[in-house]
């Protein structure tokens, strides 16, 4: 291209957005018929592109997607609902255990040996803590895998 003419990218930029053009570009276009014609060519091309039929899906996307959502969305209330029987079962199981072993539990208070009491309570608390930590880790892993899908 003639070095006195504007480069192709400057011409395109001007055709796309004349307001942002540099003053030198505007000045050049005021006098140069060749560049003016090229700008008009690009403007014609851009007008045709923007007037082209907008792409659209040939199917109802909303219906298609929503049909696959309920299993995920309704998951929360179902989970909460499913917790209730487990909670009731746990309460019955624990209170049943306490009732059947009430004599043994009461005898714990009679242990005069502080060392034994300390060992028993430490073991129970450690196991409980380990189980809770493990459950929480499992829960976090499952939540992460849901997010990654």
């Amino acid at each position: 291209m003639n070095q006195h003419h504007l480069s192709e990218d400057v011409l395109q930029e001007f055709a796309a957005d004349p307001v942002k053009a540099r003053p030198e570009t505007k000045e050049h276009l005021r006098h140069c018929e060749f560049c003016k014609e090229q700008v008009k060519t690009y403007q014609g091309l851009f007008t045709q592109i923007s007037n082209m039929e907008e792409p659209s899906f040939s199917f109802d996307l909303t219906t298609e997607v929503l049909a696959h959502l309920p299993s995920v969305v309704q998951g929360k209330p179902i989970k909460q609902f499913q917790l209730l029987p487990y909670l009731v079962a746990a309460i019955i199981f624990i209170s049943g255990g306490i009732y059947f072993f009430r004599n043994e539990i009461l005898s714990l208070s009679k242990i005069k040996d502080e060392m034994s009491l300390y060992i028993i309570s430490t073991c129970v608390l450690s196991v409980l803590l380990f189980l809770l930590t493990d459950m929480y880790k499992n829960y976090e892993q499952k939540m992460k895998s849901f997010e990654l899908i």
Partner: protein, 203 residues
Amino acid sequence: MNTNNGHILTDKQLVQKVLQGDTRAFGDIIKKTEKLVAIIVLKMIPDAEDQKDIAQDIYLRAFRKLSGFQFQSKLSTWIAQISYNTCVDHLRKKKTVFVDLQNSFTDFEDDDSTLQNYFSSSGNMDTEKQLILKERKKLLQTAMDQLPPLYKTLISLYHQESLSYEEIGQVTSLPSGTVKNYLFRARKNLKNSLLIHYKKEEL
């Protein structure tokens, strides 16, 4: 459409509703962003069956990740970003070249006046002119279809969806300068394709 006392809900309100379990709100998000997603999917993916699967996959992904959306960009830009990444993943799996960096152009530097006539003679809308216009639309569509997927997408996002270079950069994770450069190549390629056709027509 989901409304709040007659007012159309904002992106934030829609997202909150979806997170509270309102699927209709997600339907509204789909309706709001479908056009943008269609541009990306239909320009990037050639196979019609794949287009349907990918479009669904995009929204299912968006739905699962919605709780992590921090509103650092527009919701539509975020969904467009998911669309673009999903399409690129698909093309990579199929080993399809989605941007042709080696593409060389045949220059027609002194012949732009011919193409200028080609674009300018669409003033009067009588039957003959309308036919010519229809034919030109078809030609432009053919020329667009011949571009690599990324170029087609960039052209449509910029000229049809009026997205800025920065917004396109956010969607495609490309620097604005690269977006500008690709758009420049794509437009030049398009112009040259039309020139080649115009020259053939003249002969």
